[in-house]
Amino acid sequence: MTIAANPVANVGRATLEFLADVGRLCIFAAQSLLAVFTPPFYFANLGRQLLSVGFYSLPVVGLTALFTGAVLAQQIYIGTGRFNAEATVPTIVVFGITRELGPVIASLMVAGRVAAAMAAELGTMRVTEQIDALTTLATNPFRYLIAPRVLAATLMLPILVLIGDIIGVMGGWLLATTVLDYNSIGYLQRTVDFLETWDVISGLIKAGVFGFIIALMGCYQGFNSSGGAQGVGRATTNAVVSASILILAANYIITSIAFTD
């Protein structure tokens, strides 16, 4: 049929569908943001989400930060060793962690946990008509379900990343003082000597944006899922994949626009 015969029409259709998708996502994001600021506020739901996004992500974020910090110290030690600049290891490690690896790796890990959980939960609620039931009970699902999730993730990610930053630096320090021959106090001194507040803050701002992306994609995919258990599975996968890609893309955009100094 024409589908195979007309690649131009195919590309055109795919492009239109993609643009429509982007449009729907933007509307959804706007509705979610609006819901965050419109009463009634469901504080119990917010509390539950703060706990599940924040507290229960701590082990994952802590462990990945620890290993990342350690391996970073190891590699930078090798790299700087080639031109006798091993003394800069603590400075570069903390710089890399606070500005890039801390926020990005923590967010990717949390995306795997949280976006998937949100998509699965909301997706199940959608296919079992619980979201419709909410609406008929005169409760706006954006305010009841989505606002608490978006707010919780946006608030908790910076906190998680700050903790991850500290653990990451400790990971580097641990490796440097045990495997390599660094002096403990000297390493820590070097870590803070050239660190600027902005290095940390810019990473935390990114984390907030990434948190928003994680909750947004989880909610969007779950909220719009259809087609029973299979549909929920698809929503879950899509949520994690799209959140991860958007995090990396947003990271590049934010860094190149706002954080070039």
Binding site: E121, T128, E129, Q130, D132, A133, T136, L137, A138, T139
Partner: protein
């Protein structure tokens, strides 16, 4: 008979190329109990969702007490929905909440009732559908199908709505439990003085609940009349349906699309 409580005028809805509702006309008068029958997948649930605003109809009008509510959105729609109760086909109980929170959800969120009062009310309402107070502390997943239906029924009537929709209230229940649910529906509706619109393809249930019956087929209400006339409708579609015959003018599409 005055203004209908609810009327649908030429309501149409299609999904993609599939026409589901093709001009539905239906009137439900105050205090009346209307049952709509029809085969699986004929759009009975879609019809209810159009009225509730969960699905936007493509064309046609929906009137409540003579007022056009087809395109109400946002807060206005929220206000309107407080006057409705809905029992969903699958129950649609919130599985993250305990039974008493499910039952009192509308009271707490829409009517801002305090937790204590809401809980006491939930226990009252549960009693009305024949469930003890201890059920209130369970989660929906811990209940049997019949009990879930009762809880869903309790949730639908909790806010004393003026108009209640029951979407296949007896589907998937044994005949005895189905009859219990029928009785509860009749009792509760009479109690509240509510108007009821029930979807079912259970004839025994329809005869019991209905004042008037309508038959939905191919996107239209092809027959409607008092329950007493159902056996002499003279309509071959209705005849086939109430006798449950595979042969007749209604041919079952196997595929959904």
């Amino acid at each position: 008979m005055g203004t209908p409580k609810l009327s649908l005028e030429g309501v149409r809805k299609r999904f993609g190329s599939k026409v589901v509702l093709d001009g539905v006309d239906l009137e439900v008068y105050p205090g009346e109990s209307v049952v709509v029958m029809g085969g699986s997948g004929t759009g009975k649930s879609v019809m209810l969702k159009c009225v509730l605003g969960l699905i936007q109809p493509d064309s046609g009008r929906i009137l409540l007490d003579g007022r056009d509510i087809t395109h109400l959105r946002g807060r206005e729609r929220e206000q309107l929905l407080r006057r409705f109760g809905m029992l969903f086909q699958g129950g649609a109980l919130f599985d993250s909440l305990r039974v008493w929170r499910n039952v009192s959800f509308g009271l707490m969120s829409a009517q801002r009732m305090s937790k204590r009062d809401a809980r006491a009310r939930a226990v009252d309402i549960l009693a009305k559908v024949g469930l003890g107070p201890d059920v209130g502390d369970l989660r929906p997943a811990e209940l049997s199908g019949g009990m879930q239906k009762r809880v869903a029924l309790a949730r639908a009537i909790a806010t004393n709505p003026e108009i209640i929709f029951f979407d296949e209230p007896t589907a998937g229940l044994d005949p005895i439990m189905a009859d219990v649910i029928n009785k509860l529906i009749i009792e509760r509706v009479r109690d509240l003085g509510a108007t009821a619109l029930t979807i079912t393809h259970d004839m025994a249930s329809a005869r019991k609940i209905a004042d008037r019956i309508g038959m939905l087929h191919a996107g239209k209400i092809i027959w409607a009349g008092p329950v007493a006339e159902i056996d002499r409708s003279g309509n071959p579609y209705v005849e086939q349906f109430i006798h449950g015959r595979a042969e007749g003018p209604i041919t079952m599409a196997v595929r959904r699309q």
